[in-house]
Amino acid sequence: MIILMVILFSVTVRAVPSLSAAAKQAAWICPIISLIFTIPIIYIFSSIYKVYKEESFTEVIEEILGKITGKVIAVLYIIQLTLLVVVNTRYIAAGPLTSMFPNAKLSLFSFVILLTVAITIRKGIVVIARMSEVINKISITIILIIAVFSIKNIKIERITPISHLDFLSLIKANIILLGIWSHFLYLFFFSEYINNKEKLKKVCTKTMINITILTMIAIVITIGVLGSSIVELSPNSYILAVKQVSIFGAIERIESAIISLLLFADYMIISILFLTILNLIKLLFKFDFTKSLINIYVLIIFFLVQIISRNQFEMGVFVDKIVIPINVFLGYVLPIVVFIVGKLRKKI
């Protein structure tokens, strides 16, 4: 769950402009609504893992929906996860291009990111989890310090008024956040590595509440300092908002701490998604060893990153209209379907 907290930070910060465009000044309420939708999913997984203690989620799907349906769904997850790796790598590689090195090539940055991922994921999920434990404490401390010192820059009129008229726009913005929080499901493809599954409900609920609070803080700071109309037009709005912060009027430029955290979180999300793909392939084809596939898969991802879209605008529409809805379906709707079918067939 610590892995989830680390990886969601970067993706959420990147999504704040979309949330602001959809829900304007009310966007900071979205995490609470998303939490209401996520809690039932946690209960579903808790029920599933009371019965299937040692299996991963793909094996559970095969058991409940049948072998062929299970394998087809596993292939769908592999395709969607590959798309997520490509999209995330493209966003990360395009960041320095748009801000600092406009004359550089996208292929150079994507090559560096993917090479780092290819070298480190050979160590496995346990090493990544241990790294997350260390980074999580540091990142939460930095986020909270920035939040405290941003309070004086936040203008209440920028995050209010909230009324019943914002309801529809909140639902629209909520879909974006649910599409991001669907990464929660992907960690259950490693459930054969998760111990103490009897504490799943408590740990997951606590994690999602923490994520809700941190997401609300990030959105309140961004919209409260800059205003929703600036935020929806600016791709790096959270960093812009943090730039306004100064600690006791003496320490400034602390956005560099956030940029370092975001870089690490970006690397983590690509690594975790990659490991999830390899684990899915291993379970789908009953392989013993998947490390040999890392290099060639990284090459495939590299070429896909170059040809996924021509520019950031096209990328943005593609993510909003295609990737996010598929994420919501695979992350929220499908587990509910699996649970209902499992209950009907008396397998859960």
């Binding site: 392939i281 040999s292 070429f303 593609f318």
Partner: protein
């Protein structure tokens, strides 16, 4: 650039195939060769038309979504 990409893919393939045969990973070899084929096709498409291809454009157009 096509020849460079092909050279990289083939060198990685030779190295990995050698390792897989040594470890007797026959099942993994089949999927690996499939991925090599995909990588070769993608590298050829990308090097022939680096700025023309867009997967996002194709999918959005297929669904009739304005972009």
């Amino acid at each position: 650039m096509t020849i460079f990409y092909f050279a990289v893919i083939i060198s990685i393939s030779i190295y990995e195939v050698y390792r897989m045969i040594k470890k007797n990973l026959r099942k993994e070899l089949g999927l690996f060769l499939f991925f090599v084929l995909i990588a070769l096709v993608l590298s050829w498409s990308y090097s022939k038309n680096p700025y023309g291809i867009s997967i996002a454009d194709s999918i959005l157009s297929a669904f009739g979504i304005e972009h």
